[in-house]
């Protein structure tokens, strides 16, 4: 029976595509897609799904399905409801208590418009450009915006995220229905390895994991080596604040498998590995399912589609070590060893995993590959800037209104990302900086908001693209504390092998901790700069050489904050506990008593409708009152 299912040709893929397009776009009855990525689940999507499944038994005209993350995390849980010939509507904040009403409302045609985020204009993926828009004949809902016109979405082009939120990640047929595996099948039957490599080279695709090395060049070098070669996917997304890889792994695992298959074909490898961090259990589960399905269709295994190309993919889980995102450390860990990097006199494309040539790309890079093959190198190269082509997924988080994953063309301005797509800073607070590139990156201040975001421009201001985390900071974020935070992180994650990184980071952290505790001295800033310079120059691997970046950029752009800590013994943002205290401003306090109720120390007293008092001897500076006060009457001094 399995044999009949095996895909042998592009036509077989097209047949599945046609059959399952109906399920995706013209379902029988009402289809409900609940966003079930980790973030959706954390926001309550699982409870909504369970409630819907329990109360609305499947088969009576309503299908309850799961999808990955549709990206607009601020509005989670997100639920899409649609039916053939009717608008596709995305509802926001659909928790357990709303899910049944949302579905009933759609069935009855009254739609609960106040819960709607938007309606879709065109649900097709970039790979289905030739098919007809299933919504072209559908009359849109009045006074409801199209998703594509909402500021959060309208600057986005979804290549790597093309299927996230649209398909059931546990269903290979739905991936195929959106144009999946066609690129690979076409490559297998019609293209030579050199042609594949050239296409990727000409597309200008660069590694999306941090280094930004040209993917095609890497493939070419690896393909030239002799002997057994390995294709490895770096899914050890360790940068705190970046989660696009998790979203792709959980929402569209087949896009990675297809990218790896194409790489295997181009490089001449028969074995792939996915190294995924254990903090992402759902991603591991979905990858395992995806691999099994692909094997059952004969797209992974021996003699794929009757050709002489064989390819297998294995999954390995990491065990919580940031340094394992570094290529040589990752390969050591894959071999079951301690994940320590080695000097790269010999690159991993020559001698990597098991001392054999190994091509390592990250999740987002692989997810881009099938689209580039389908749409052509020139199409991809037409997007972006001179040296940075295509799109990049950013995770927009921190002090920002529209948190979420956004995929935008390279070269878009930082201002557009933060203020148009991201909607700016919440609670009328003032923008201070945006941190890019994780612990290896830097903090970019307001004066560079017009910067066009690509690999070169970010490097010019002392930061990096990294894996695409963008953490927005406002007036309440202390930049010295942020620098201390990153060094504390890196101290814990340094593998301890080379002295500049192991000891240097520790010393820098000691100095910063002193500064944050009010023990800073004249000359500390200069000493930090000197140490930072040394660590950059003499560390063994990328983790060490980039470790001082967060400190050096914050000194460069926010020196006055360091000086306030050192000279005035004051933390202007109200973060470093030893250097500030809270006061209640009697003029603004309305006596609403909320702070007094919330204070865990009972440090706040006062009569209702009268200005309250704060007992400094009891206050532990937990900040609960500061966050709770709606009148800004609690002030940092």
């Amino acid at each position: 029976m399995q044999g009949e299912r095996k895909i042998q040709s592009v036509e077989d893929v097209e047949k599945i595509q046609q059959k399952y397009s109906k399920q995706l776009y013209y379902p029988d009855g009402i289809k409900v897609n609940i966003g079930m990525a980790s973030c959706g689940i954390a926001a309550g999507a699982k409870a909504s799904l369970e409630k819907a499944l329990k109360e609305l038994p499947q088969g009576n005209g309503t299908q309850i399905c799961q999808t990955g993350c549709i990206g607009f995390c601020e509005e989670e849980p997100l639920v899409e409801i649609f039916a053939a010939g009717r608008p596709r509507v995305i509802y926001r904040h659909i928790t357990e208590n709303k899910i049944l009403d949302a579905i009933q409302g759609y069935i009855q045609g009254n739609y609960n418009k106040k819960w709607i985020l938007g309606q879709m204009r065109d649900p097709r993926s970039l790979l289905e450009g030739n098919s007809e828009n299933p919504l072209s004949e559908v009359k849109p809902l009045e006074k409801i915006p199209f998703l594509e016109d909402i500021p959060f979405y309208n600057k986005q082009i979804k290549i790597a995220l093309r299927n996230c939120g649209y398909i059931d990640p546990d269903c290979i047929e739905e991936y195929i229905a959106r144009g999946g595996y066609r690129a690979f099948m076409r490559a297998l039957s019609q293209m030579q390895p050199a042609e594949l490599i050239n296409t990727i080279k000409e597309s200008g695709l660069r590694g999306r994991g941090g280094g930004g090395f040209l993917t095609g060049v890497k493939w070419e070098t690896c393909a030239k080596q002799s002997g057994e070669r390995y294709i490895i996917c770096n899914a050890d997304e360790g940068d705190p604040g970046a989660y696009m890889d998790r979203s792709i792994l959980e929402g569209d695992p087949h896009s990675i498998l297809e990218g790896m298959l194409i790489a295997g074909l181009a490089i001449g490898s028969n074995q792939g590995f996915i190294y995924v961090r254990h903090e992402y259990p759902l991603a591991v589960k979905r990858l395992i399912t995806a691999i099994k399905q692909t094997e059952s269709y004969g797209l992974l295994g021996e003699n794929i589609a009757g050709s002489d190309f064989s390819f297998h993919i294995k999954i390995s889980t990491g065990a919580g070590a940031f340094v394992c995102g570094e290529s040589t450390a990752l390969m050591a860990s894959l071999e079951g060893n301690v994940g320590r990097p080695r000097a790269k006199y010999v690159h991993t494309v020559e001698k990597g995993f098991r001392n054999m040539p190994s091509n390592l790309n990250n999740v987002e890079t692989y997810a881009n590959v099938p689209v580039i093959l389908s749409r052509g190198a020139a199409w991809h190269a037409s997007m972006g800037t001179e040296n940075s082509k295509g799109t990049k997924v950013f995770s927009l988080v921190g002090k920002i209104k529209n948190t979420g994953l956004v995929e935008v063309p390279m070269g878009i301005s930082l201002k557009d990302i933060v203020f148009t797509v991201g909607g700016g800073i919440p609670k009328k607070k003032k923008f201070k900086a945006v941190q890019t590139g994780g612990p290896s990156g830097g903090c970019i201040p307001e004066k560079y908001l017009n910067l066009s975001v690509d690999y070169q421009e970010l490097a010019k201001v002392g930061s990096i693209m990294g894996s695409g985390g963008m953490i927005v900071m406002d007036q309440d974020t202390c930049m010295v504390d942020v620098a201390r935070y990153f060094l504390d992180f890196l101290k814990g994650e340094s593998c301890g092998q080379c002295t500049p990184c192991r000891e240097g980071i520790k010393q820098m952290l000691n100095i910063l901790t002193d500064i944050c505790q009010g023990n800073g001295k004249e000359g500390d800033i200069e000493l930090l700069e000197e140490l930072g310079d040394m660590i950059q120059k003499f560390s063994l691997c990328g983790l060490g050489t980039s470790a001082p970046n967060p400190v050096l950029t914050t000194i460069r752009y926010f020196r006055e904050e360091y000086e306030a800590h050192i000279k005035d013994k004051r933390c202007p943002a109200g973060v470093c506990k030893a250097l500030f205290h809270y006061e209640i401003d009697e003029e603004t306090c309305t006596g609403c008593h909320l702070c007094a109720i919330k204070c865990p120390q009972e440090a706040i007293t006062g009569e209702k409708k009268e200005p309250h008092q704060l007992d400094q001897s009891k206050c532990i500076k937990c900040g609960i009152c500061y966050d709770a006060c709606k009148f800004d009457a609690i002030v940092v001094k």
Partner: protein, 165 residues
């Protein structure tokens, strides 16, 4: 440095060697490259890595105990000490940090009277800070066992912990 399971600090657990054999031989075919995943599996069974299981693993796999110890202490997932019934993971990723995750952690430390990495005396909770659970949009995030709680403020922690006995 942590001691390899000092006997006085906890009662010895019963090791089911048949089960260990299953993991080492049937599931992972004594593949030395799979050492990390084997250790994860053992930890999943016992909630930590009992000393006896590591010694057995070393003999069975032909990997020196020193190497196993090196791997176990290098990766942050592994624990050589018994952990509580419920694992509280406070995310200290950057996005959670700037939104006040430290305050959440401090609050939990005060409530349970333990520090980061420690276990309550009644073995009910272990508190572990983690660097990024990838739910950055919902920060600060706390995970208790498999349940993830987003948009946590320090005054909400008490209510959450009450649910776990």
């Amino acid at each position: 440095m942590e001691q390899v399971g000092s006997a006085s600090s906890h009662q010895a657990v019963e090791i089911d060697y048949m089960e260990l054999d299953k993991i080492i031989e049937e599931q992972f075919h004594r593949d030395k490259e799979k050492l990390i995943m084997i250790l994860q599996e053992i930890q999943w069974k016992y909630n930590y890595l009992p000393q006896a299981s590591l010694i057995y693993l070393s003999e069975k796999m032909g990997v020196p105990i020193s190497k196993i110890f090196g791997v176990v202490t290098f990766y942050s997932t592994f624990s050589l000490q018994p952990r509580g019934k419920h694992i509280i993971s406070v995310c200290l990723g950057t996005a959670c940090h700037v939104r006040g995750a430290e305050k959440v952690r401090e609050r939990i430390e005060e409530t349970l009277n333990i520090r980061d990495g420690q276990t309550t005396e009644d073995m009910r909770f272990t508190l572990e800070s983690v660097r990024c659970l990838g739910c950055c949009s919902l920060g600060p995030v706390v995970r208790v066992d498999d349940d993830i709680y987003g948009r946590i403020t320090s005054d909400m922690t008490g209510k959450i912990l009450e649910k776990y006995n």
